[in-house]
């Protein structure tokens, strides 16, 4: 069980922000943090890791207290058994793939552990290559293997797949899912991608302006239970054209564009760039903002 209660005043590109959160992660649960950029998602991961100090709060992992402002406890990052996977991989360019993994171990005698991890993320062939020569997907696999080698108490992933193209992202989602099922380490996954949430998350915390505004299962959060749609896609509004009393909304879903008709009344609160769900209920497609 991981308990996080933290408060910190931040200055973001959108102005000052008071980050204040209080949540728990039961053992073996994978939760995602979802929300607009600047909502404080990365800061939460950094506070758990010990890279940023909360002004007030308590961070407890099992029965270890990592941070407690009341008692003046603040364990340095090196003493918190975390693993952090970053968006830009952060592999050490002077080390080979294998050396990057070795660096994560306390003891050089690994008893074949490194080879096992290399095989698990399909990198055995590339073990003697330097990170500079790898593709984005390969780099992130190295980073995942390196992070998990440490046998962390909590696994923190900060938009790990957002720099990859769609196809690779889907593939790595499967791999992360497989790795998670194998190790069952409590995991916090920051993402903007709904497909990642539906594929990976047990529970989702939706953040806005420094607060957790809603939480629940992905299905409950995004209306799956409330709607018996025959099909449903999430996309972004690219364009809105008014024609008489109707509005034609162009929505990007993945790499496809689709046009959906909405009434003027429905479309009046929508803006270009909004995330929407396009669903078909029986015969007529319906569209609403999320």
């Amino acid at each position: 069980m991981i308990k996080v209660r933290a408060k910190k005043n931040l200055v973001t590109s959108h102005g000052p922000l008071c980050l204040e959160v209080d949540f728990e992660i039961p053992d073996k649960e994978l939760i995602t943090l979802f929300g607009p950029s600047g909502a404080g998602k990365t800061t939460i991961l950094r506070m758990i890791a010990g890279l940023t100090d909360p002004e007030e709060g308590l961070i407890q992992v099992d029965d270890e207290i990592w941070f407690d402002s009341a008692k003046g406890i603040n364990r340095p990052i090196q003493e918190r058994q975390i693993s952090f996977v970053f968006q830009d991989y952060n592999l050490f360019p002077n080390m080979t793939v294998r050396e990057n993994l070795e660096y994560a171990l306390k003891d050089k005698k690994d008893g074949g552990l490194i080879d096992e991890f290399l095989a698990m993320v399909h990198l055995t062939e590339l073990r003697n290559r330097k990170p500079g020569t790898l593709s984005g997907g390969e780099k992130q696999r190295v980073a995942l293997a390196r992070a998990l080698l440490r046998k962390p108490k909590i696994f923190l992933l900060d938009e790990p797949l957002s720099a990859l193209d769609l196809e690779l992202r889907l593939k790595l989602q499967d791999e992360i899912s497989a790795l998670y099922n194998r190790f069952k380490i409590p995991t916090i996954f920051v993402t903007h991608d709904l497909s990642e949430i539906f594929k990976l998350a047990h529970r989702i915390l939706i953040m806005d302006a420094g607060k957790i505004v809603r939480s629940g299962t992905p299905g409950a959060m995004f209306g799956e239970d409330a709607l018996s749609g025959k099909f449903k896609f999430v996309g972004n509004i690219l364009q809105m054209d008014k024609e008489d009393f109707l509005t034609i909304v162009t929505v990007q879903i993945g790499n496809n564009l689709t046009k959906v008709v909405a009434t003027e009344e429905e479309a009046q609160d929508w803006r270009i760039g909004d995330r929407v769900v396009v669903a078909a209920k029986a015969f007529n497609p319906i569209i609403f903002k999320i």
Partner: protein
């Protein structure tokens, strides 16, 4: 014609000793200046760079005063530890270390400051201490900066004149380095001798800068 090789050997010895000491001082100092949040660094940083703008004779003059047997420090060193600094090789090393300090520290500092903080955080996140991160992650990745510092400090020490003359004078075999020998020979109108030393220093300087360029170009390739 018989050339005295001693000044060249002495110069080489001085440059090696100075560079070695500067690596040991320069790396920690550059690390501290780059990463500390203490205000003190705003005082230390300009002090490190002072030799870049200060006339060498000024620096030499104050070192001379500081270590003269009449000063407290010079007196203490000489009577208690029996160490003489002025007009000795040791004095040259002390002066050279201070005078070449910015040439070692500034490139390494630039290397530290341009090194991505995220890689340092990644290393800490893997449970590694600052020391291990410095040795295994930061320094190997800023090798071109460290090498630039080493080469620049070495080259600068080889070409030093003012500080050496102020602190060391011109004692053959002890403090008469190549640059001082050139001055002496030219003053005595021994142009052949002056030319001998000058041409060798010229070649050394060119070779050093040539190597430096090669290192930096390779370094850029590795990082990109």
């Amino acid at each position: 014609m018989n050339f005295d090789l001693n000044p060249l050997l002495l110069t080489f010895k001085l440059a090696c000793a100075t560079t070695l000491i500067l690596v040991l001082i320069g790396v920690p100092l550059a690390y501290w200046v780059s990463f500390t949040r203490r205000k003190l660094k705003y005082l230390i940083e300009p002090l490190i760079s002072m030799p870049l703008v200060l006339p060498p004779t000024v620096l030499g003059f104050y070192i001379l005063l500081l270590f003269s047997p009449r000063s407290f420090l010079g007196n203490f060193l000489e009577t208690v530890l029996h160490v003489k600094v002025v007009f000795t090789f040791l004095g040259l090393v002390v002066g050279s270390v201070l005078f070449s300090l910015p040439f070692m520290v500034n490139p390494i500092k630039a290397g530290f400051q341009s090194f991505p903080n995220s890689l340092i955080e990644a290393s800490y996140a893997l449970g590694k201490s600052r020391w291990e991160t410095l040795l295994k992650v930061i320094l190997p990745n800023i090798k071109p900066s460290v090498l630039t510092g080493i080469v620049m400090a070495f080259a600068h020490t080889v070409g030093e004149f003012g500080v050496v003359l102020m602190i060391g004078g011109s004692i053959p075999g002890e403090t008469r380095t190549a640059s001082i020998a050139i001055f002496n020979e030219a003053e005595a109108l021994n142009y052949a001798h002056a030319n001998f030393y000058s041409s060798i220093l010229f070649l050394i300087a060119f070779t050093i800068l040539f190597i430096l360029n090669v290192i930096n170009r390779k370094g850029l390739k590795v990082l990109s």
